[in-house]
């Protein structure tokens, strides 16, 4: 069955224009996304063997997807053998219900979370809060946007759209709420210290830890979490109860497979050879362990993923959520993540949102709205997902399912019919020349009908000249 993803109900025009009107966000994005893209190419440039390992990682991911059903069975067996409990969730609602039940059964009042896109996908925080559980995000970026009551604007760097001045403002509000003094300035060190102090208390008093999973190794049933802040170490070891929600596409077969993939998110996302912290969880603590949770629940989420296995689109399940395609995307750099209206923004977001949740027209429309077909995403993707081609497939699907406005459709049909013969092409030249005689004001075109009018909203267009190239050729080279 297909999945359901959260969406922003505002129309595209409103989402886009609100992003384009936010100049401080656009400045921050241009700078940070540009820096991350450069860091990635530098990191690869200096690291000869990286590409060979990357390709082995791609093969491992593709293999895992082709064996997904067997690997799911294997991973469940391994996790339960170590005392974990696996729950399978067909969709977002089932996953949330399952986590809420576990929380309620254990009397959870406070949950701490490490960064997880899949919990954004299922809107877990809302589900837990509705059930009376307080949720605290412990990744710095997630903590910032939680204070701002926002959604992530980037799959790896959720607060990429905010500069440090804006972060300080948020922390000042939080300081006021707690009767604390404001930070003296917006130094990165001070900001980090503030978050660290706040979060330390939450870690110690939390009843439940919640994580996603960057990878899930089938042969031992081990969840792999990579962070740069070490917060996943705290989330997985301090609270007595741990819940991990993982999409089934995160499963890889073996530790050998993992070894080729482990560096990839940090290397491709931020140009770091390895994330600062790598956390492995294979089960609740046994009697000999000093710390760790008493219970470990793993929710394996489908939500539209299994449907894609065996289709031409299955390579998108290889995504490791590194964000490299967002960083390099010229559209993302202009509008940021919120304008996409999905928890998954950027090129991979267009492709994943529309394929996981085909029932949502606004996701399909993004393929036409938020892409200039520059192929930068396809080039940069470490998992060799042909993102631009996937977006093209969605555009074609949009045409085939008549999802376009009728006028646009008719324009392409007429244009295509005329330009597939010489006579039709020449006819359009005659029509255009005739038309522009009526439309010219002060020697310039100011308005044109339909699709073509879009150009003239913001740019000039030269007139059809008295002599086109072919007319010049006929005159100078004709018999």
């Amino acid at each position: 069955m297909s999945g359901r993803l959260p969406y922003d109900p505002r129309p595209w025009r409103v989402r886009r224009d609100s992003a384009l009107g936010n100049s401080s966000m656009r400045d921050t994005l241009q700078r940070v996304a540009g820096r991350l893209s450069k860091a990635k190419s530098t990191a690869y440039g200096d690291y000869q063997i990286a590409d060979k390992w990357r390709l082995a990682g791609v093969a491992a991911k593709r293999r895992a997807i082709s064996q997904i059903d067997e690997l799911v069975v294997q991973v469940i067996g391994e996790i339960e053998r170590h005392g974990g409990k696996v729950h399978r969730a067909r969709d977002a609602a089932e996953a949330v219900r399952c986590v809420v039940e576990v929380a309620q059964k254990n009397g959870v009042k406070l949950a701490v979370k490490s960064k997880s896109m899949v919990t954004e996908e299922i809107e877990l925080n809302k589900g837990l809060e509705d059930a009376g559980v307080q949720v605290v995000e412990t990744d710095l970026g997630e903590y910032i946007i939680q204070l701002a009551h926002e959604k992530p604007s980037h799959i790896l760097a959720p607060a990429i759209h905010r500069n440090r001045g804006q972060v300080k403002e948020l922390f000042d509000v939080e300081a006021d709420r707690q009767g604390m003094a404001h930070l003296a300035n917006a130094d990165i060190e001070q900001l980090t210290q503030f978050a660290r102090q706040q979060l330390r208390q939450e870690f110690l008093s939390a009843d439940m830890g919640v994580t996603g999973g960057n990878f899930l190794v089938a042969e031992t049933g081990t969840i792999v979490l990579i962070t740069n802040e070490g917060n996943a170490d705290m989330v997985t070891s301090l609270p007595p109860l741990l819940v991990s929600i993982v999409g089934i596409e995160k499963i890889v077969g073996t530790w050998d497979d993992l070894s080729y993939l482990l560096q990839q998110p940090a290397l491709s996302g931020v140009g770091q050879r390895l994330s600062s912290y790598t956390t492995f969880v294979s089960g609740p603590r046994d009697e000999s362990a000093m710390d760790g949770p008493d219970q470990w629940h793993v929710v394996l989420l489908d939500n539209g993923r299994r449907n894609l296995v065996g289709t031409p689109e299955e390579s998108i399940l290889s995504c490791i959520r590194c964000g490299a395609c967002l960083n390099v995307c010229p559209v993302f750099r202009q509008i940021g993540g919120h304008a996409y209206g999905s928890v998954y923004p950027g090129p991979i977001g267009i492709v994943v949102s529309a394929n996981l949740d085909p029932s949502m027209p606004s996701f399909l429309d993004l393929a036409s709205q938020a892409c200039s077909m520059c192929y930068a995403c396809s080039e940069v993707c470490p998992m060799d997902i042909p993102l631009a081609d996937e977006i093209l497939t969605l555009r074609n699907h949009r045409v085939k399912t008549m999802a376009e406005p009728l006028l646009v459709r008719r324009t392409y049909e007429m244009w295509g019919r005329l330009w597939s013969t010489k006579a039709g092409y020449q006819k359009t030249i005659r029509i255009a020349r005739l038309g522009q005689r009526f439309l010219i004001q002060k020697k310039k075109l100011r308005w044109a009908p339909g699709l073509f009018g879009g150009w003239l909203k913001t740019r000039d267009m030269p007139l059809i000249p008295p002599e086109t190239f072919r007319e010049w050729w006929a005159k100078t080279h004709g018999e």
Partner: protein, 249 residues
């Protein structure tokens, strides 16, 4: 031109050059002839179909692709295309687009003949007598030339051979925002991307005193020039052939 072998080429002028910048096509003919080519022009040609293909209108794109094949199948000469993006369309998309209507060999016969103008010029001997005085120009490389044709250097290289000093823009790998009909259906976003490119151009204008923006894809150039003119800036924008024909120097 003594000592040069005469080679016969077909010109694929592209719809944009034909309709709005014929002088770029005329200059391309001159540049090719000066380098020993005999240029042929099949007037059945219209458009490669890329605008429809990239918008998802596969049926319309296929009809135009078939017309393209018919326009050029009468000879075996190389087809020199005045656009990296259109050349990439033929190379990358035609095999997928035409596989149900033409044989693999028929498709291969057309696809293997396509050469983008600067790639062709790069592989032929440069003209003698480069500029004495170095003229600095800014170069914009289209995304499909960069990423699909993988022709990252040919344009800059042929300009240098003719004595131009070529300056690249900052963040050169970022799309200018043209994107075919994306420029019409999403003018606000497309223009925001153009403005970023124009800001990068402004920097090299100030820093290096470049005298023109040059490129080998008419779509990008029309988009950037159209934006600058709308903002009252009539900075010189040129299709690359216009700088390469001897008569133009």
């Amino acid at each position: 031109m003594s000592g040069r072998e005469i080679s016969d080429v077909e010109l694929f002028v592209t719809c944009l050059v034909d309709l709005v910048r014929p002088q770029a096509g005329i200059a391309a003919v001159a540049a090719l002839e000066e380098r020993g080519c005999r240029v042929h022009f099949s007037d059945q040609q219209t458009c490669c179909g890329q605008f429809a293909y990239n918008a998802g209108h596969v049926d319309q794109a296929r009809a135009m692709a078939l017309n393209f094949v018919q326009a050029f199948e009468g000879s075996t000469r190389p087809i020199v295309a005045l656009s990296g993006s259109c050349a990439a369309m033929v190379v990358e998309a035609y095999p997928k687009l035409l596989k149900d209507v033409l044989s693999e060999t028929a498709i291969e016969r057309i696809v293997s003949r396509i050469v983008e103008l600067t790639q062709w010029l790069q592989s032929s001997d440069p003209l003698e007598g480069a500029h004495e005085e170095r003229i600095r120009v800014a170069y914009h490389l289209g995304c499909h030339m960069r990423r699909l044709l993988r022709a990252e250097d040919s344009g800059q290289e042929v300009l240098r051979q003719q004595g131009y000093e070529v300056v690249e823009l900052g963040d050169a790998d970022q799309c200018c925002g043209f994107g075919g009909t994306f420029s019409m259906s999403e003018p606000e976003l497309s223009t925001a991307m153009a403005d970023a490119k124009i800001a990068a151009l402004k920097e090299v204008r100030q820093q290096y005193g470049v005298t023109a923006l040059v490129g080998a894809d008419m779509g990008c150039l029309l988009h950037l020039a159209g934006r600058m003119i709308r903002n009252g800036d009539d900075f010189d924008v040129k299709y690359i052939s216009e700088l390469l024909a001897g008569g133009s120097r």
